[in-house]
């Protein structure tokens, strides 16, 4: 057990922005006078890498939120809860079976089921009343928060991935944690799969039609109620997946739900609501902005994230890449 804890410590340390920053500063101090340019470049590269891998995680959370908005015109305020629940369910699976690999699908499908039930039993009966539906998702966010406290206590936990993934690899003199590369890989895989389904299949076409104009879609015989159930479950699935994967370096703790929610919103708003490609670009922008913001001007780092979001919303409410 102590060994595992230590490995988590090391993982978190290699991943943490602050440590990289101090490391870069120390290096810069040590090599002052003799070619700080290389260190500077390395610092920027590592920050960019961290930003992109964080963006990969944000894509998982943001894409689901974006699709749900596109199809149902509601903002799901329980989306952060799905993220957190994903992490918690994964922990339970790891505690009982010891398998991290098993924890990923179990957590994602469990939370997808929760999302599906929530949509079918509670949101659907409200019909087309976005405000009440949104308010209802707030209620569920609270309910989930309390249930999580009751079941998993208020202690913070870490999800420890297999030792293979905690290594670092050296690329061009840069020490890159393998786990972050894995995160990028997962996001790429999910993104590509979603894109293929959306663009190349009949189901994808019906989803796109529903996003564009739900009323017309119903008119031509598309079962939009079925589509929204599907998308809601998919969104929950993706958020939970993000929760498991992100649990390795964000941790799993009470309050993470409402910390993740506004960041996911930033992704969706910058990228544009209801657009998959937009979510990818939004996730990348937010991931990078968050990393560089915290490294360069920590005092106003959150401000630099949310102020552009508010400005974009005011100027173009559908987001930078959203369709009118």
């Amino acid at each position: 057990m102590p060994r595992v804890a230590a490995s988590a410590e090391i993982l978190r340390d290699t991943l943490s922005i602050q440590s990289l920053l101090t490391w870069a500063k120390l290096k810069a101090k040590a090599s002052r006078g003799k070619g700080t340019g290389a260190v500077d470049a390395r610092f920027w590269l590592i920050q960019a890498f961290n930003g992109i891998s964080y963006g990969a995680l944000l894509f998982l959370v943001g894409s689901g939120l974006s699709l749900i908005f596109g199809v149902m015109r509601i903002v799901n305020l329980a989306h952060g809860s799905y993220f957190l629940l994903g992490g918690y369910v994964a922990l339970s699976v790891i505690w009982t079976t010891g398998s991290w690999l098993l924890a990923i699908p179990v957590a994602a499908f469990t939370v997808a089921l929760i999302g599906l039930v929530m949509e079918r039993v509670f949101l659907r009966p409200l019909g087309f009343d976005p405000l009440r539906q949104v308010l209802l998702t707030v209620g569920f966010a609270f309910l989930f928060q309390q249930a999580a406290l009751d079941i998993w206590t208020g202690n913070p936990f870490d999800i420890n991935p297999p030792a293979v993934l905690t290594q670092t690899i050296v690329v061009g003199g840069l020490h890159l944690p393998l786990y972050r590369i894995f995160m990028i890989g997962v996001a790429l895989f999910i993104g590509l799969t979603l894109w293929l389904v959306m663009e190349k299949t009949r189901l994808g076409a019906t989803i796109r039609a529903t996003v564009d104009d739900a009323e017309m879609a119903r008119g031509v015989g598309i079962d939009t109620s079925y589509i929204s159930m599907l998308i809601f479950a998919l969104g929950a699935f993706l958020a939970a997946l993000g929760g498991v994967i992100g649990g390795a370096f964000l941790g799993v703790y009470p309050g993470l739900d409402f910390e993740m929610l506004p960041i996911a919103f930033a992704v969706v708003i910058i990228g544009g609501m209801g657009s998959l490609g937009g979510a990818a670009i939004g996730a990348l922008i937010v991931g990078l902005a968050d990393n560089f913001g915290k490294a360069l001007f920590p005092e106003i780092s959150y401000f630099t994230l949310y102020a552009p979001m508010a400005l974009i919303l005011a100027v173009k409410p559908t987001g930078l890449f959203g369709r009118e």
Binding site: L126, F258, Y302, P317
Partner: protein
């Protein structure tokens, strides 16, 4: 008919509030504290209700204005010893003005949007304020926040629990009165018109944007007042007061009590605080009670707890009618 029914409603509210003011000081100190908190926070809830219930704009960033009032109070008191004597009234006015100024700035962006877009833009703006409170250590004390050592003393000593309760009660009653006057004024009526159908109001020649903008600023000002009181109630101001969950709390309380009723705010605040602070000491399943009550209200009582009497009356008339109807 409707006039007299309104009078009855006002009478009920006045009697209920008078009962609260008379009875609460004779209870335990825990309940006095709880009531003081509920009253201070419910000013924020009422400010949100002006937007949500009357103008149809669901704000998810109302905690920002509470934050401005609270931080202003705390920074002035802790750093400069301002606001601990008679100048408390000055700080209260400052808190309202500061929050109104922020709302005037934010409103320029937010009132361009409606529906869920308004919700998201207010969320983003609220997060801006939270980000500053959380990270701007030199000004806000960062995560630790700012402690207020003493409550103001001006002729009366607010350190006394009962005295402080009455002061907060006074502010609450005054806010309720002012907000009620606003929503009953022609200005308030046109807000309701905007909520119901904005294009029609535009056609009728109303500058709907200006109406919404003014409502946003007024709501901000009362949010600031709530913050000034909250700072002295809690004795500490931290990013916790500005975080998204605080805004969500305010929204939850407004909807729970009944959006568009103003007094629903104090009912919602009382119920939520009661469940969270009091029920939690009695039973372990309290955690589900809050979310459960809220979900049930959204599903079955869209008018909130305040609509229960109306519901009962409707149900009764339906019973009478079905009994009288010839078969």
């Amino acid at each position: 008919m409707s006039m007299s029914r309104d009078r009855v409603k006002i009478l009920i509210v006045v009697v209920a509030l008078a009962a609260v003011a008379l009875l609460v000081p004779h209870t335990t100190s825990f309940i006095i504290l709880l009531a003081t908190r509920a009253l201070a926070f419910s000013i924020l809830v009422m400010s949100l209700d002006l937007l949500l219930g009357f103008t149809g704009l669901a704000s998810l960033g109302q905690a920002a204005y509470l934050g401005v009032g609270a931080y202003l109070t705390a920074i002035l008191a802790a750093r400069y010893q301002i606001g601990l004597g008679y100048d408390f009234w000055l700080v209260a006015a400052f808190g309202m003005l500061g929050a109104a100024a922020l709302a005037a700035l934010f409103g320029l962006l937010a009132t361009r949007a409606t529906g869920v877009y308004f919700l998201m833009i207010t969320l983003a703006l609220g997060q801006c304020v939270w980000g500053l409170a959380y990270r701007w250590n030199s000004l806000t004390g960062g995560d630790n926040g700012i402690n207020l050592e003493h409550r103001p003393k001006f002729g009366i000593d607010l350190a006394n629990q009962v005295t402080f309760f009455y002061v907060v009660f006074g502010f609450f009653a005054a806010s309720l009165l002012v907000l009620y006057t606003i929503v009953r004024s022609p200005f308030g009526r046109s807000l309701v018109g905007i909520r119901e159908r904005e294009p029609r109001m535009k056609i009728l020649g109303y500058n709907t944007w200006l109406h919404k903008y003014l409502a946003f600023i007024i709501a901000g000002a009362f949010g600031g007042l709530s913050g000034v009181l909250w700072a002295h109630t809690a004795g500490i101001v931290s990013p916790e007061n500005v975080v998204l969950t605080t805004s969500v709390d305010a929204l939850l309380m407004a909807v729970l009590g009944g959006a568009g009723t103003l007094v629903g705010g104090i009912i919602g605040a009382s119920v939520v605080l009661f469940i969270r602070e009091y029920l939690s000491t009695l039973v372990h399943w309290w955690q589900y009670a809050l979310g459960g009550v809220y979900v049930l209200v959204i599903l079955y009582l869209p008018g909130g707890l305040m609509s229960i009497p109306e519901r009962i009356r409707q149900w009764r008339t339906a019973q009478v009618k079905s009994a009288a109807a010839p078969h």
